[in-house]
């Protein structure tokens, strides 16, 4: 058996153990664990009377923070992120490309091929998405009965926090990570991202962050939910530290991702790709990337202050020593509201990108759509205090925040109008990606309209902090982001993998998910209106019937995700139907390339002669190949 295997290997290939030595995931994990214990050890040797020490976990906050930070450093060194700067420092020529080859090994390390990073994101984020979704199922188990029945109160809060934090943190890059990294260079006619190493760094930072957040269960979990409000944050046990490190790392990853996207789109567009010919998906990415780049530093800053409060005993947020709990709320939502548009805007881009393809018509109102994206991006900075309308913050600015919040529905409406115009007199084809886009229209309609109830101050007094607001943001984020996330998967995965996904299973997935989603979250509006607050382990018994209905629907929603998983495994591993280069008849640039896309994308950098929406027109997106040599 082993003899035949050895013979089957190409000549000159080193044995397996030799291939495992080097800068790869295995080394990274080992160095990460080493780094953690180094930090832990150092942290235990810092003594101060004021340091909180958690006897039940044998930790103090300093040792945990140091452990996490040094663990991440070790992890990144193990992946090879230090090689390039070190060799430049030592004056040695450094490799400009890492692992830009064929083969499976490139997926388990630092790879500068944007297509590999896209696939890494897809799988990595997918794992955490399913884990966070599972937490939601466990939450719904608890809420089957009005009195506590499955989880102790503390575990329940940790589940709520893990679900929210992981979804918010990991799915922030849910579309920009897999799809923008993979597709933006293809859509703008480039061979790479502007900063390929940073691109890989954003992914591995996110994975390290995800693991760190999961370790909270070893340190008692955290009680604050995804918002991490002070001073509960300061009071909480050691599990809180992993929340802080997680979100700060996510912020770092997000900021670098946004920076990289902006630099790529600004500098690496192919000749002829003017701003008015840019695909809508790229516009969605740009408007998101601006928010990521500018909002994430605020998050990192506020979490650093929280970390100092927990370790160095500063008192940014401790009222009894001169701090303020409002400082955290304000800074958190200065990040937090742009954050929700970071989640929503890529979805807008996907919807407007896909509708022309399946309506077989040009995008209706291109400039209006772009104005809509940029308008949402800009306005999202002016609205954050609507999250704290009843907090007791100075009340005379309330009409302003009410106005600015409601103004956002104007640019959001542009997206709806352009979608409506695009379908008008089209020849609409109900493919799976199209169904998910239409699902977005329906869900986001209710998500957006329920937002008006929360922006209206008197109405918000009823709905704030209740299941109504929870239903609202699930309609916008799950109904908006996750539906378009699946639209993107069904639409672009054939291009990314060269294999088609099964259409029947895809349709079953859509209808199950669409019906179960609405059946889960629509009753939550009613529950909120009936007075059920968020994040409670008990509730009044007259609300049980609706809660049981919601839980049952949520389990079906969970099952629909399994249908997708079955489809993915079946189509990728068993059916293996090869995808044509252009399965949807799209005029977009990425579909003019073979499936799967070759390592260097374009043999010659194309010259762009029009926008990718010339359906019914006698135009093509690519003109004559450029005569200039296609340089890096």
């Amino acid at each position: 058996m082993s003899a035949t295997q050895t013979e089957a290997q190409p000549a000159g290939r080193p044995p397996l153990w030799r291939r495992l030595v080097g800068f790869n995931l295995l080394t990274a994990v080992l160095l990460g664990i080493g780094g953690y214990y180094l930090g832990w050890f150092a942290g235990h040797h810092i003594h101060a009377a004021s340091l909180g020490f958690f006897a039940d976990t044998d930790q103090n906050d300093v040792s945990l923070f140091l452990g996490y930070v040094l663990g991440v450093v070790g992890f990144l060194v193990g992946l090879g992120f230090a090689n390039y700067p070190l060799s430049r420092l030592l004056g040695k020529p450094a490799s400009l490309r890492e692992k830009e080859t064929e083969g499976v090994g490139r997926y388990f390390g630092l790879c500068t091929d944007h297509k590999v990073v896209g696939m890494q994101y897809f799988v990595g984020i997918g794992i955490f998405f399913f884990f966070a979704g599972l937490n939601a199922m466990l939450i719904r188990f608890e809420l089957l009965r009005p009195e506590p029945n499955v989880w102790p109160a503390g575990n329940y809060l940790t589940l709520v926090g893990l679900h929210g934090t992981m979804m918010r943190g990991m799915m922030t890059s849910g579309i920009l990570g897999p799809f923008a990294n993979y597709l933006v260079p293809l859509m703008i006619g480039a061979r790479r991202m502007a900063f390929p190493r940073i691109e890989s760094l954003t992914f591995w930072l996110l994975m390290a962050a995800g693991v760190i957040l999961t370790t909270t269960i070893f340190f008692g979990g955290f009680p604050t939910g995804w918002t991490g409000y002070q001073p509960l944050n300061d009071q909480a046990q050691a599990g809180m530290d992993s929340y802080i490190v997680f979100f700060a790392l996510v912020g770092l990853s997000m900021m670098l991702l946004g920076l990289n996207m902006l630099a790529t789109v600004i500098t690496l567009r192919a000749p002829g790709l003017t701003w008015t010919r840019l695909p809508m998906f790229v516009w969605g990415v740009i408007s998101t990337a601006v928010l990521m780049l500018l909002a994430a530093p605020v998050l990192i800053g506020v979490l650093s202050m929280a970390a100092l409060d927990r370790t160095a005993q500063t008192s940014y947020f401790v009222a009894s020593a001169g701090g303020s709990s409002y400082l955290f709320q304000n800074l958190f939502w200065v990040f937090g509201h742009p954050e929700v548009y970071i989640l929503a805007l890529p979805g807008f881009g996907i919807v407007l990108e896909l509708l022309p393809v399946f309506a077989r018509k040009p995008l209706w109102g291109y400039r209006l759509a772009v104005a809509g994206f940029l308008g949402v991006s800009l306005l999202s900075w002016t609205v954050w205090q609507h999250h704290i309308f009843v907090s007791g913050i100075n009340s005379d600015l309330r009409p302003f925040y009410m106005l600015s919040t409601e103004l956002i529905s104007i640019p959001t409406g542009f997206t709806f109008l352009c979608a409506m115009g695009t379908l008008w007199r089209g020849r609409i084809r109900f493919t799976v990606p199209m169904l998910f886009c239409l699902g977005w229209v329906f869900n986001f309609l209710f998500g957006g309209l329920s937002g008006i109830f929360l922006s209206d101050v008197p109405s918000d007094v009823t709905s704030h902090g209740s299941f109504f607001s929870m239903a609202h943001f699930h309609y916008t984020i799950m109904g908006g982001l996750i539906f378009t996330f699946f639209a993107a998967i069904y639409y672009w995965l054939p291009k990314m993998t060269g294999l088609m996904l099964n259409e029947l299973l895809g349709k079953v997935h859509f209808w199950m998910m669409f019906v179960a989603f609405n059946s889960t979250f629509a009753p939550l509006f009613a529950l909120g209106f009936m007075g059920m607050p968020r994040r409670v382990v008990t509730y009044p018994s007259n609300l049980q019937a609706l809660n049981v209905w919601v839980s049952a629907s949520a389990f079906v929603l969970g099952l629909s995700m399994l249908v997708f998983l079955v489809n993915l495994v079946y189509s990728m591993l068993f059916a293996r139907v090869p995808a044509p280069a252009n399965p949807w008849g799209s005029k977009s640039l990425e579909f003019q390339l073979p499936s799967p896309v070759p390592v260097h994308n374009f043999d010659r950098i194309p010259v762009i002669t029009g926008d990718p929406y010339g359906y019914g027109e006698d135009t093509t997106v690519i003109g004559a190949p450029a005569l200039v040599p296609a340089g890096e």
Binding site: S50, A153, Y156, P223, T227, Q230, L232, Q235, Q313, S315, Y316, A319, S320, A321, G322, S324, R360, K361, W364, I388, V390, S391, G392, S395, R398, P399, L407, I410, G413, F414, L417, M420, G421, W424, R425, G426, R427, I428, F442, L445, L449, I452, F453, D456, V457, P458, S459, D460, V461, H464, G465, S466, F529, G531, P533, V536, V537, P540, Y615, G616
Partner: protein, 284 residues
């Protein structure tokens, strides 16, 4: 019907559905909208919820009718042939009308919300409320100061102090009917949120902060109060029941509580708008 065209048909269906929808909302749904009419503030919020639902109906109807119609009328009838639709890239007049209509709607909603907010709206407004409801007057026309009640959130229980009656502290919330109440919400530890659902009051309790909310109960009876901001382990258990009673019953209850609490009153800190523990181990 043929003379109507696609657009005309959509318009007719939309007019019919939104009229029916708005009538149904105004007659059937509106009386059940939260938080009901147990206080002046609750009625105001219910009215806001009603107006917003009414405004939403034609919007929902428009999108749903439009997409429903278009998806049926313009579906591809021969999917085997990849044929393109007409290359329409926009329509300036439609865009202008859309922008004007959405802007007007939004400005109306913001103006309406601001107008409704002027009366106080039951939300916590911090130590210096900008939107104070009109003061009550007695039969003789004398201005009546609102009754102050302090709500103190702590893990995981609300307690209440009545400064006008010697500042006793009790775990029961009893309010007189038809009397303007000035709630002073504060916390001893983390952030809580005092939510009296039926009375239409929600105000966060922050340590070191006096968060003022106004409410005028209109009906006798009990009401639920809950913590609406995640405050740690037993957040889910932080609920209680309050009562709205007549003025005479309130006076009787106050007298009883004062007598009952008198022996422990001297152990309480003097009444203040917020209470802070001593700075303990902090450097800053």
């Amino acid at each position: 019907m043929t003379r109507l065209g696609d657009f005309g048909r959509i318009a007719v269906i939309w007019l019919v559905t939104s009229t029916v929808g708005m009538v149904l909302v105004a007659t059937v749904l509106a009386p059940h909208l939260p938080p009901g009419g147990a206080s002046t503030e609750a009625s105001g919020q219910r009215f806001d919820n009603e107006v917003l639902t009414l405004v939403s109906v034609p919007i929902v109807a428009m999108i749903v009718v439009y997409f429903g119609y278009v998806l049926i009328a313009f579906r591809e009838r021969e999917p085997s042939v990849l044929a393109d639709g007409p290359p329409i890239r926009g329509h300036m007049r439609t865009q202008t009308i859309w922008i004007v209509v959405t802007t007007l709607t939004v400005l109306f909603l913001a103006a309406f919300g601001t107008y409704e907010l002027l009366g106080g709206s039951g939300g916590g407004q911090g130590p210096n409320p900008a939107f104070v409801p009109a003061a009550q007057t007695t039969a003789a026309g004398v201005k009546r100061e609102p009754l102050q009640v302090q709500v103190i959130g702590q893990q995981w229980q609300f307690t209440f102090r009545y400064p006008s009656f010697g500042g006793f502290e009790t775990a029961q919330l009893v309010l007189p009917v038809d009397r303007q109440i000035e709630l002073h919400v504060t916390s001893l530890d983390v952030i809580h949120s005092f939510w009296a659902y039926k009375l239409g009051v929600k105000a966060d309790a922050n340590p070191g902060v006096d968060n003022i909310a106004y409410v005028t109960p209109k009906h006798l009876g009990s009401f639920d109060l809950r913590c609406a901001e995640l405050c740690g382990l037993f957040h889910g258990y932080m609920f209680d029941t309050g009562r709205v009673v007549s003025g005479a019953d309130f006076a009787k209850w106050v007298a009883g509580q004062r007598a009952f609490m008198q022996p422990v009153l001297k152990y309480l800190p003097p009444f203040e708008h917020s209470y802070l523990p001593e700075p303990t181990i902090r450097g800053g």
